[in-house]
Amino acid sequence: MHPNDAAITDYIDGALDVRERAEIDRHLESCAACRRLVEDFREIKGVAASLELREPPVRSWTRLERAIKLEERPAAARRSPAWAEPRTLAWLAAAAMIVLATAVGLKFMPTGARRAAPAVENTGAQPAAEAGAANTASANVVSANAAAQSVAAELQQAEDHYEKAIKGLEQIANAEQDVFDPKTAATLQKNLAVIDQAISESRAALRAEPASEPAQESLLESFKAKMALLQDTVALINEMRKGNDAGAARIVSGLKQKGD
């Protein structure tokens, strides 16, 4: 009869007494399946004990530093917002204009629909019969370069639009940020830090490989995420200024879900 799970576990972990251990030793001498099981489990245990440490992402310290600073803000800076105070909603109108202008300005689509000409592999010496194909390949290279330049120019244009819109939204969010309680402010800062990190990483990837579609898409997705977050922020300011607790709570709940 095979030893049960607990006995095998204790055997591997060295938790059996001499008699129990001898019993299992005897069984293993005649049972190849259990012998292999014990050998594999020992190997797993050995490798598990020698696993290396994992370095946290670089952004982790920046995120933590921001969160600590938010916690350390003096009480005066964390006072409750004067929701009832009558204020002009001109900021919000301005924000809406920026969002609309951006939506109209964005046309860049770094997807398969505008893929560059197929890449040409360097296959070394080619048979004479393929000389024509080589000429076509050469033309394809020129075409690919032109397409890559065009994509880069359009990417830059889209990036400019996003940055302009983000700057406008940031100005509003920064000017009005005193309406937030520390927890909400921390959630916003945490989300912004994550997105900013994604933007930096995408830019770095694009510098290394300008034609990389995943990097282009990642950069634009990060810009979109930042836009969406700032739009939520402005919407939240609006609801808080209006004194609409339910509307504000809905937006805060959405922000937390994105941040979680």
Binding site: T9, L51, E65, A67
Partner: protein, 180 residues
């Protein structure tokens, strides 16, 4: 703990408490990898591990005043991190109500033909993330972190026999994935 290490810990704690951001950064950089690794493995994902890392070090920052120097600063940070990870695991388990499911599933195995290639650490690291909740935490605490079954049982609030069966199940699953 040596007098020098003790003095270094006390210095870093005092400076951090006095608002010296550089001192707290030193503390973070000294211990972040160990805590991040523990958090990723206990949570089963790098994303959750990163969030846990932030929450843990925020707690460290808040609670530095309660560090009395009875143990090394690293041990104190590790205990705080482990407790935080366990709270997270318990809360997620309560939400997902998966404990019964993971405890009751069949743990039998079919012997595989022995594979000559040794298990690569990276493969094992990835495979641990795939382990079901319940057996993953027991495996990480026992085989990776080095707690015995009695300690694992206490930490996870389960019976010692359950800890053994969960570790057996985790090893059997890992074997199925890595030794096929």
């Amino acid at each position: 703990m040596t007098v020098t290490a003790e003095a270094a810990d006390a210095d870093i704690v005092a400076r951090s408490q006095a608002g010296d951001a550089d001192a707290f950064e030193v503390l973070y950089r000294r211990h972040a990898a160990r805590i991040y690794t523990l958090a990723c493995r206990m949570a089963g994902s790098a994303d959750d591990g990163e969030d846990l890392l932030q929450e843990i070090f925020l707690q460290v920052h808040r609670k530095l005043g309660s560090f009395k120097g009875d143990a090394a600063l690293g041990t104190w940070v590790y205990r705080l991190a482990l407790n935080h990870c366990l709270d997270y695991v318990r809360s997620r388990r309560a939400k997902m109500n998966k404990l019964t499911e993971t405890l009751d599933t069949d743990t039998s195995f079919e012997p595989h033909a022995p594979r000559e290639t040794p298990i690569a650490r990276m493969d094992l690291e990835r495979a641990i993330e795939r382990l079901p909740e319940g057996c993953r935490e027991a495996f990480v605490l026992h085989d990776v972190e080095g707690f015995d079954h009695k300690e694992v049982a206490g930490l996870l609030d389960i019976a010692e026999g359950t800890s053994k069966s969960q570790v057996f199940k985790a090893r059997a699953k890992l074997r199925g994935w890595l030794k096929k």
